[in-house]
């Protein structure tokens, strides 16, 4: 990061003495939909470690003080800051009174691009604000809470230590994986010293693998009537502790941070990867505390990789009943739009389309807090040749893509090695930055599409207004005041899971008047005059829910006359003043 920054300064200092951090405007012709001359220059075709993320977040907050605020919501196990960018139009309304959209990335440390996608969203919202009316209106109404990486320790471990594309998945808090009383005594070993953990193969006349004639780098299994000449020995490593197992207890897999959340949590003998109890991982605890302190969060997105999926819960079949028809309709409406916006991505349900997982983040967000939440599995092999493809690392598509589009940059060529336990072997295979992480040239484009999905998701958090306020003289000094409150977006103020468990308090609708409120009631059917009275404190009516794309009607009997105004106070729907 620092290098490119200096480079940018040096390059543009010669073109213009004043504009050191932006291209001179006359040289630029705007491509539609992209900030043409951003204040914060970020190269979106590569990845950033925690230091890089920190710097970009700080720059965004410094460049746009009225749109972005940066805070650390807590520290990771190793003491890194968990950065959160709050993005809203701070000049319009109070942040906590606006419906919120929460975005995080990188809960699994090897699933890195979520951080870039999340940061791209923050960057785009701030840079596009100046000349995009839609973004201006969005940030007047809504607030984004963006935490690029909720697992920064292991993000750095993934980038700076020897790993493969699937390691480490966890954070860095050490675990005794094999129960032998020793911790991390048998990790992967970077035998060839290239910081990529690849595969080991050995020539063997009885082996069941051979070199793929279509691409000699690939190994394929031989058929039943065929003779092979190689055996595969697994992932690069040594049996360090002499227990007869290779790589069974190391930093590459300690626990699973996405099995640590407070809904449907199960211990590790039932749910592999679970730690001591919900939120026993410090990064998750910080996120949980942040979410509890921000009841305005109505929508959430968590970025994973890979496979091109828009996932919703439940994680376990036991929870199917939690997601009732009403909530599923909301999930469906938004995710189906997502399938359109992100070609190659499919809308799926975790427990039946993927696998059962207990204690996942999206389950807690939805079932524990009533927040409509998706997990996107970023990167799909579909994006390689714009057609369906498998995730199989031995798939020829991956080799072709690497050969013709990446010019073999993604592969460590097989090379001989003298292994202390296996003898003469060869080491080689795909690098850790291929297979799950986007190749550079596709990163920005897919970040933009995923951001567009998050913006659509956020747009459909509740938008409340008073659409009608009617007074009627009842005689004897009494006035009847009837208000219709509308929600013009897809999401209700309370998901049905929320209503069922009373997770969030009801919405309060206050009739502001100097006259005395004698009675207050919810109107179930205005035409047939069906009402339910609220005896206690009738001036502030408690409404359990304001449905998406729907209305609620309320009626007060007041001793006296107007003026009357209405205050809607909804935790997830915002605070709105209405009436005359």
């Amino acid at each position: 990061m620092k290098k490119i920054f200096i480079y940018t300064i040096a390059f543009f200092a010669s073109a213009s003495a004043i504009q050191v951090h932006a291209q001179s405007p006359e040289q630029i012709f705007k491509a539609s939909g992209t900030p043409a001359n951003p204040k914060v220059i970020v190269t979106w075709n590569r990845y950033y470690d925690h230091g890089g993320i920190t710097e970009i977040c700080k720059k965004i907050a410094a460049a746009y003080p009225d749109l972005a605020k940066l805070q650390s919501i807590g520290k990771s196990y190793d003491g890194r800051d968990l950065w959160c960018l709050t993005i809203t139009d701070f000049k319009k309304g109070i942040e906590s009174n606006k419906p919120g959209m929460y975005i995080d990335g990188n809960i699994h440390s090897n699933e890195i691009q979520g951080a870039e996608f999340a940061m791209y969203t923050a960057w785009y919202l701030t840079e596009a604000f100046g000349d995009t009316k839609f973004i201006q209106e969005l940030l007047a109404d809504k607030v984004f809470y963006i935490i690029p990486s909720i697992n920064p320790d292991a993000r750095d471990s993934y980038m700076h230590k020897p790993n493969n594309s699937s390691s480490p998945r966890s954070g860095v808090k050490p675990i005794d994986n094999d129960g032998d009383g020793l911790v991390n005594e048998d990790n992967y070993d970077d035998l060839d010293g290239d910081s990529h953990i690849t595969l080991m193969r050995r020539k063997n006349p009885n082996g069941r693998y051979k070199v793929d004639p279509r691409d000699p780098r690939n190994m394929i299994q031989v058929g039943p009537d065929e003779k092979g000449d190689y055996e595969l020995l697994g992932i690069e490593g040594i049996d360090n502790d002499g227990d007869g197992k290779v790589n069974e207890d190391g930093y590459a897999f300690e626990y699973d941070p996405n099995r640590d959340w407070g809904w449907g949590w199960q211990p590790n003998y039932i749910q592999n990867g679970a730690y001591k109890y919900p939120f026993s991982i410090p990064e998750n605890r910080a996120v949980m505390e942040f979410v509890m302190k921000h009841p305005n969060i109505a929508a959430a997105q968590s970025f994973h990789n890979a496979g091109g999926m828009i996932l919703r819960g439940p994680g376990g079949a036991e929870d199917v009943g939690t997601y009732n028809a009403q909530d599923v309709a909301v999930y469906d409406a938004i995710a189906k739009k997502g399938e359109e916006l992100m070609p190659g991505y499919k809308y799926l349900v975790v427990y039946k389309d993927l696998y059962s997982a207990y204690g996942g983040e999206l389950d807690w967000f939805y079932a524990g807090r009533g927040i409509y939440t998706y997990s996107n599995e970023l990167w799909t092999p579909y994006l390689m040749f714009m057609k369906e493809s498998t995730r199989d690392p031995f798939d020829n598509t991956s080799y072709s893509f690497d050969r013709y589009l990446l010019f073999q940059d993604a592969f460590v060529p097989w090379k001989e090695y003298d292994h202390p336990q296996y003898g003469k072997i060869e080491i080689g295979g795909f690098k850790k930055n291929f297979g799950r992480a986007h190749p550079g040239f596709l990163l920005e484009s897919d970040a933009h599409r995923n951001m567009a999905f998050s913006i659509y998701h956020c747009y459909h958090t509740p938008k409340l207004s008073v659409t009608s306020l009617v007074e009627k003289d009842l005689g004897d000094g009494l006035t009847e005041v009837t208000a219709v409150i509308a929600n013009s977006r897809i999401m209700p103020t309370h998901s049905s899971q929320d209503v069922k468990n009373k997770i969030e308090r009801p919405d309060y609708i206050t009739l502001n008047t100097k006259a005395t409120v004698v009675a207050g009631m919810l109107v179930e059917n205005a035409d047939l005059n069906l009402t339910t009275e609220q005896k206690n404190n009738p001036g502030v009516l408690a409404v359990n829910n304001i449905p998406g794309l729907g209305t609620v009607t309320l009626k007060w009997i007041v001793s006296g006359k107007g003026p009357f105004t209405i205050t809607i106070d909804s935790k997830k729907g915002g605070v709105v003043e209405g009436g005359k």
Binding site: G244, W263, W265, N268, Y269, Y277, K502
Partner: protein, 524 residues
Amino acid sequence: MRKQIFFAIGLLCFLSSFAQNYSTLAEQQARIQNIVKAYPQLATVSSMIKTNGGKDIWMITIGTGKTETKPAIAVVGGVEGNHLLGAELVIGFAENVLKASGTDSIKNLLQKTTYYLFPNMSPDASEQYFAKLKYERTGNATSTDDDRDGRLNEDPFDDLDGNGKITLMRIESPIGDYKLHPDDARALIKADPSKGEKGKYLLLSEGIDNDKDGLFNEDGEGGIAFNKNGTYKHKTFSPGAGDYPASEKETRALYDFLYDAFNVYAVISFGSNNNLSANDDKATSIVSDLYNKVSGLKDAPRTSVTGGDFLSWAYQHYGRYSFSTPGWWVPKSKPDTAKKEKAFTVEDPIANYLRWSAQQGITDVFTEWKTIVHPDFPNQKVEVGGVDPFVLINPPYKQVADLSKKHTEFLIKVAAFQPEVDLMNVKTESLANGLTRVSVDVVNKGALATHSKFADRNYFVKKIKVAVTVSDKQSLVGGKKILLLNNMEPSTKQSFSWIIKGKGKITIDAGCPTAGTKNIDISL
């Protein structure tokens, strides 16, 4: 109260024998510190954490030498804040066992076994016993919206008769589902419509519907209850459970300590849950048999776990043997023929308690029903009365010393069942040319298995490790250098052998934290 504290500080050791009532938190703390101070070689105490109410959660370690290397029993009291007996039994055990530590049997016990004691997990709640307004509280000082309506503590109990105790109120009502007990009109029992019975009373806890929502006392000071806050089948969103499992500091502090205490093989807790009076599990029925014999307690009321409880957590999630008992319950009373009493026609705990307490000479535990004016029932007869809080689950204090003695005996004797790994039948056979086969039996000499049922594949349970160490000049030709075993049943053995080339000393290690580790040197 102040007198008692003064007394505790002034006359350290004599307190427990002369106290007339359950210990306040200050008294508990003084007793703990006094006994630990008196036996610094065998006991240490530390505060694990302070609750949201600012109260310490104390932990006492009792044992000899490197206590963390010996198989251990964790003993937990105050599982429910209204169960004052629990803390008494745990502190009583510490006092009794340390005072007897000069004897050979206790010396040997503490050589072999470590005890981790957690006298009171509900200090915020248990103080309610000593408060101006007495009621059975289990929730800690965390503020909770028990009825989840967005308003905090808007409908607490109300002491309508001004006696400083929350009892019951009965309201004469045509829709009442309770009727008077036929043998004791002070008690009320449910009317059974299937027998053509009709109720006459509504029975509610003492209070007013302060927020006029039709419910009585549904959102008072509340708090989170330790025995509802656990991770096993947590009842998320229900009153006292918390919004997510292990939400409370004291729950997490205990879990954190225990998860890292790999040497704990059994957890014994005192609270309303009871699996010690009756036990269907063959592996652990020896423990309940011992308990029934030592305690002499009979006719235990049936209990069932409710979810989020500590008993289930220790077994299901912690993966250790887990036992719980209330330590005392109201004995079944017998009719006093001298007073011409007859056996009850309907079994009822209140009627039973009233008869039993009278026979024991216990007075002043029942508030006679008294008519009051109630704002929510303006035209109905409302009476306040009933049995005092706490007395149904906590014995009269004068019985505590004896109960404490019996539970001490149980906690000492149960350690004799401890799993114990040993190495036996070591054999060396010279094969040829400096090649030796070494055979050994690994046995579990204990009466309990080395690992309980849910210990498999648990990060926090260490396996039995059998390892052979050879020197640079020797080589292991046959057999595995390290073997990990999930479990060994009581009184079983497993045989191992290795082929080693070379002369000199080898070492064989076998064991695990819950059953101890043994090693043996063999000269080849």
